[in-house]
């Protein structure tokens, strides 16, 4: 394999792919990025056997096609240090030589045949990967209608919004495996993402095209969700369409092409049952507060200054036209912050973990949101229109 590469493009691709690489895998091949160089195109592949990515690179001059494995961390490190615009990669056996003006590295890799297969979209999808090279151009032509059954699509920006509103609420600990991922539900033209860690639940509704008639659902692991989020924030056009295929055990996503180069994310699905989330979203509220997003976040942040992990809660005292946020921690002190509120219902007080409140409010774009409440020791529901619903359990006042 011999390729003359644009360094910036290669670095960007390697950065994205490195996010998948299993750093301490017993299989040395998994610590590598695989280069598949074909005439006119280089594809980077990385996988940890659960999540995988294929990154196509443009601006590559493939002088000699072939495959090679290069350890991800070393390659990344070298690329970071090089300044040249173009560099040359050439591989023989399991060694890759990286040459830039004034520098030469010989990096020992592994056998490309040892690298696991990173699944691709089924064959018919191959044809219409319409390359339309028009940097910063106005309208990107959509790929032709997918041929493979089950493939649906969602707008890149819409999907990013859904991810942003849910991913933060996944469980960080491994107690319940299904909670370490985000639930996707697709039916017709609606795509719903749900995430929960057992103490709060985030639900975001969006649109999609050509979704299945019957609801299809899948739990996508957090690591894959993070990877999708990264791909979507890396130069993808907001209006571009993400092609998505959910199968029994895995999911494939093709990002809108960046400069004509595609990126495909693959992930196995979490094998488990997502809790029945509809049951825990309360519907009957008798108290409703309409709050300024910024003012509420600021008030909670201020009150949270005098809390720690042991004290946790901030208390929200709602009354007509006023919300008082207070905190009290024995060894630290106490805080009291007042803001105006539009409130309907009996005055009440309820305690929450301030981190949960801030996490939820952070992803609200609107200037105002609604906080639905029932009473102390009862869940609160933060909503932004119909698109975002966030249930947060209180800290019980013992």
């Amino acid at each position: 394999m011999k390729v003359v590469c644009d360094r910036a493009t290669l670095t960007r691709g390697v950065q994205i792919a490195s996010g998948v690489v299993a750093p301490k895998s017993p299989k040395p091949a998994l610590g590598c990025i695989k280069f598949e160089s074909r005439p006119g195109r280089v594809t980077l592949l990385a996988t940890d056997l659960e999540v995988g990515i294929r990154v196509e690179l443009d601006k590559m001059d493939v002088q000699q096609p072939g495959d090679s494995l290069i350890p991800a961390d070393r390659l990344h490190g070298i690329l970071r240090e090089l300044e040249a615009d173009t560099i040359t990669l050439s591989s023989t056996n399991q060694e890759t030589e990286i040459v830039a003006p004034g520098s030469r590295f010989k990096v020992l890799g592994d056998d490309p045949n040892d690298f696991p297969m990173v699944p691709e979209f089924p064959a018919p999808a191959e044809a219409p990967a319409g390359k339309k090279k028009e940097k910063n151009g106005a309208e990107e032509a959509k790929p032709a209608e997918p041929v493979v059954e089950g493939i649906f699509s969602a707008g890149a920006d819409d999907l990013l919004g859904l991810i942003k509103r849910t991913l933060f609420a996944t469980a960080k600990e491994n107690t319940r495996y299904a909670l370490n991922g985000v639930l996707w539900e697709v039916a017709g033209n609606s795509l719903t993402l749900v995430a929960t860690d057992g103490r709060r639940l985030s639900l975001a509704r969006g649109k999609c095209k050509n979704g299945p008639k019957d609801t299809a659902s899948a739990i996508v692991p957090s690591k894959a969700m993070l990877l999708i989020e990264r791909c979507l924030t890396d130069g993808v056009e907001a209006e571009g369409q993400v092609r998505i295929l959910i199968r029994e055990k895995d999911i494939l996503l093709e990002m809108p092409p960046v400069d004509g180069a595609r990126r495909i994310v693959y992930s196995r699905l979490v094998d488990g049952h997502f809790p029945k989330y509809e049951d825990v979203i309360p519907k009957d509220f008798d108290k409703k507060a309409t709050l300024s997003t910024a003012a509420f976040a600021a008030a909670v942040r201020k009150a949270a200054l005098l809390t720690n992990e042991e004290s946790r809660g901030v208390s929200l005292k709602f009354s007509e036209q006023e919300l008082v946020v207070t905190s009290r921690t024995p060894e630290m002190g106490e805080a009291e912050v007042r803001i105006t509120v539009e409130y309907a219902g009996e005055p009440m007080e309820v305690g929450f973990n301030p981190v949960y409140l801030l996490d939820a409010v952070k992803v609200i774009d609107s200037e105002q949101f609604v906080f639905n409440l029932k009473g102390p020791n009862k869940p609160g529901v933060i909503t932004e229109g119909k698109l975002f619903t966030h249930v947060v359990m209180p800290v019980s006042i013992v």
């Binding site: 057992g198 103490r199 709060r200 809790p275 042991e310 004290s311 024995p330 800290v395 019980s396 013992v398």
Partner: protein, 422 residues
């Protein structure tokens, strides 16, 4: 807070030869005889506490019982009655709280008291006269009250700081009161061996001895910069301590425990996993009950294993949320045990510690709230039944396996040694 020129008055109250003394109080015929608590001579255990009669013959804490028996064959060896010790400890602390609310228990037999603000009160109660030595009078009064009401001998160290109070107490043991007047810390400490200072263990003492530093006054003479060159950041603290400077306060809030431990030494070394797990379950159960009694929630659990060769291993894990339920902790305990118990060597001791105590409010769950509440009610009932009819009336979980191997009384299984550290 009002600025007060009066120097602090700190007591360190320490019960002399605690376990042994309690035994002598409970069995007056033992008074005046060497008493060793820790086990019978045939037990392969160590001295937990020795009365001063035994200490005079050379018996030391942590000495193997067999050795203690060799040097003091006429001693009375006892396995100990840990419930009684806990009761005495509680009563002692309560009595101290009559003098000041600022009581910080350090262990079962030791507590710091801050009586700085009590001078007026003591005066009106007639405990002290008007002189400047009032802390000494108050300490003496406390000591006499403990003797009169509980028949307990204690030693009290009195000084303007915790550090000096502690050293004074060690100096005055047993059955004494020592008062270091504010301003006289340096001359008091000067002639004492360096090892009286907290932070100077045998190894540091040895290191210091190599520089020909033996007494506290030797250390005071060393310029702080030179000390720092040899001892790094610890030097500053060391230099301050050598001068009797210590600004830490008596923190009565620490009356709340930082951790709850239950551990026990087996009758014979065990290699059977199941038997150890059964004991761990029982110890965890006891710790959880204490947790609920104190109205606390914990997050972290530690499992400790001591092998026959005294190699001790411990590991901790934390729950995602705070809890006081046995069944939340048990999966962690059993997992930790398999991580800790890795050698093919007999085990002499196992223990469970709960720590990282939580907030007053509990983060509620979305999916398991009903189950949680039901379990809370279950444990409340279990605790209630046990409070009324004795701990042994119910045996739960794996501790059922102990029924065949361990005797019980109303307080639960009879363990050879029990440790109630908090």
């Amino acid at each position: 807070m009002e600025l007060s020129a009066a120097p602090p008055a700190i007591f360190l109250v320490d019960i002399d030869a605690f376990f042994a003394q309690v035994e002598q109080i409970l069995q007056p015929e033992l008074k005046g005889r060497p008493v060793i608590v820790g086990g019978l001579v045939t037990d392969r255990s160590v001295v937990a506490s020795a009365s001063y009669e035994a200490r005079a013959r050379g018996v030391k804490t942590a000495m193997p019982l067999a050795q203690a028996h060799r040097i003091c064959p006429d001693a009375v060896f006892l396995r100990g009655n840990f419930h009684a010790y806990a009761r005495f400890s509680r009563e002692m602390m309560d009595l101290c709280r009559r003098y000041t609310p600022l009581v910080e228990p350090m262990s079962l037999d030791e507590a710091y008291l801050d009586v700085t603000g009590c001078r007026r009160l003591f005066e009106t109660q007639g405990i002290i006269s008007a002189g400047d030595a009032w802390p000494l009078e108050a300490a003496d009064h406390l000591k006499r009250t403990l003797k009169r009401e509980m028949d307990l001998f204690v030693t009290v160290g009195v000084a303007a700081s915790r550090l000096v109070a502690k050293i004074a107490c060690d100096y005055a043991k047993p059955n004494g009161v020592a008062y270091v007047k504010p301003g006289y810390e340096a001359p008091f400490l000067a002639p004492l061996p360096l090892k009286v200072l907290p932070g100077i263990g045998p190894r540091t003492a040895e290191r210091l001895a190599r520089y020909n530093l033996h007494q506290v006054c030797d250390l005071v003479r060393i310029p702080p910069a030179m000390l720092a060159a040899h001892f790094g950041p610890a030097a500053e603290v060391l230099a301050a301590r050598a001068r009797g400077i210590d600004s830490s306060t008596v923190n009565a809030d620490l009356g709340d425990p930082k951790s709850i431990s239950r551990e026990t030494t087996f009758e014979t070394n065990l290699i059977a996993r199941d038997a150890m797990l059964a004991m761990l379950y029982y110890l965890m159960e006891r710790a959880c009950r204490q947790l609920r009694d104190d109205g606390l929630l914990a997050r972290t659990v530690t499992v400790k294993v001591r092998y026959a060769d005294f190699l001790t291993e411990g590991r901790s894990r934390s729950l995602p949320t705070f809890s006081d339920h046995d069944d939340d902790f048990w999966p962690l305990v059993s997992q930790l045990f398999s991580k800790v118990y890795t050698r093919r060597v007999g085990v002499r001791l196992v223990g469970v510690t709960l720590s990282h105590f939580g907030p007053n409010g509990r983060q509620m769950g979305l999916f398991d709230e009903t189950a949680y509440r039901r379990r809370s009610e279950f444990y409340r009932s279990v605790d209630g039944i046990r409070k009324r009819f004795g701990f042994s009336v119910l045996a739960t979980g794996r501790s059922i396996e102990l029924l065949e191997t361990h005797e019980r009384d109303s307080n639960g299984f009879k363990l050879r040694t029990a440790c109630l550290s908090r």
